[in-house]
Amino acid sequence: MSARNRELLALIPASLLVSFGFAAIFIERAAELSNVSLSYGAMFLALCLTGHVVLRFLLPHADPYLFPLAAVLVCFGLVVIYRLNPDKALIQARWFVIALALFTATIFFLRQDFRVLERYRYTIAVAGLLLLAAPRLPFIGQQVNGAYLGVKVGPISFQPAEFSKIAIVIFLAAYLRDNRQVLVQGAKRFLGLTIPPLKQFGPLLVIWGLAMLMLIFIRDLGSSLMFFGGFLALLYVATNRFSFVVAGMTAFFAGSWLIATNVSHVRERLTIWRDPFAPDVVQGAGYQLAQSLFAQADGGLFGKGFAQALLGTPKQSILPTPDTDFIYAVIVNELGLVGACALLLVYLLFVERGLRIAMLGQDSFSKLLATGLTAVFALQVFVIVGGVIKLIPLTGVTLPFVSYGGSSIVANFVLLALLLLVSDRARRTAVGMTP
């Protein structure tokens, strides 16, 4: 079976999932099974087919599994958001269409050779940093729960960090492609550790400094962990020096500890994380996290079923922001451990495909780009799921493809487009056709 036919076949289960999910919610809502759920499934299938046709024509050799995996994640998101708030699901579906349009545009403009991105690395880096800083600008910046992550221009508000993660990965991949050999070669070895020359280490220190600045300015531990972790992953792949990773992690934790003890917003997150059930925390700041943990435990093995989670009484909401930050908790409550594992497995397979593309890549830039994009994607899932299950302090990044929010789904589809572009080029040369 050809790669594209496999992709086409894999889209069918994704649409079935949409039909089943919507049908279950309809039954709970109106106690009757209408065929509307099937038409939702059919509409979803039609949208996915558009994406599939785009890939068939523009990137015939691209990895066949990534797109269906993303489609399943989007389907999870649409079903759960519909269950929480039908109006928001409609908006999210609209964003899905826009995301597919941008996905197509990215592939269309970069289909000849995505390595032109390398040429604009500094422009892209500046754009990424500006986007990151935008939430702190007057008039358009927005503070949500103490963190500066949103930008509001007129009626549209979006999270620029979602786009800047892609921009910064492109820049780092281009930068490390040039300098990776220098980083290792000029290095002195001291006590078994590789210490690169200061001239080359300078930029790395600058990036560490930027991550710390981000922590101060945006006040979001999760995003800076995501960015810095992605950077360390790239550095490791580029140089094969584990000591860099150890040094980077140490510096990051030392820095964030210092900042956490001094910035009240970050300190509060740490207090909640240490013990959300402490008497003085659980009724106030720790309420969200404590409720999320209760909800997940309540889900049991197979979950309470679609539309069964108790989200709140008319007077008081029990689980706040269920459609963005805590969407994972809702999924665990309604589908149980089994459903949650399935969701995490989808992410795991997505990441596996991403790293696989990096391994197949023929040139350093492709390899580094694929690794970097996959790493920030994986870290984003880790940061939000880890936060919701209280493994790490909770921060407000979105669950990629699933959470409600336009910028998240659009940015992740652009990320997917870039991965597929790298994959198409790598597999085309591997098959032996002229590149």
Binding site: R180, F302, F306, L345, L349, M359, Q362, D363, S364
Partner: protein, 166 residues
Amino acid sequence: MLEPMAVILKFAFLAVLYLFLIWMARSALKDLGRAVGGRAGPGTSPGSDYDQATGMQAAVSGLATSPAQAPPRLRVVSAPGLRSGDAYDLSEGATLGRGDEADIRLQDAFASSRHARLVPQGDVIVLEDLGSTNGTRFNGEVLAGPQPLHAGDAIQIGDSEFRFER
């Protein structure tokens, strides 16, 4: 209120999801097996452990055009900023120069930003000067026009010396 239909649908949802995952994982595993056996890495800089460990190749690389013949390579004899003994794969051609767009970047004050290029034409690689300020020397003589390369030919740009191998 527990609708039996809703419960069935939930389990159907989970079943479809897991079947999908099993199928995906199986194909992924099959793919992985293929990759371990079939990965042919034209060693671009032998001896540098960071290349082999992470599967990264030097700045320019590609699969050999014909497996029977060794891939054409450009070996660094001595060049400022490049390590002597490193080799670049030329199967897809390469440009040499001081600028950002060059595939093989020279840190040589006498090199132009786009100095020279190596173009594959059928089975041979052709060396061509791109109108550089200080010229390119081929086996000790200033290069006049496009020049097909043979194994052992020496290329000199400023203070940088390379040898062509295949």
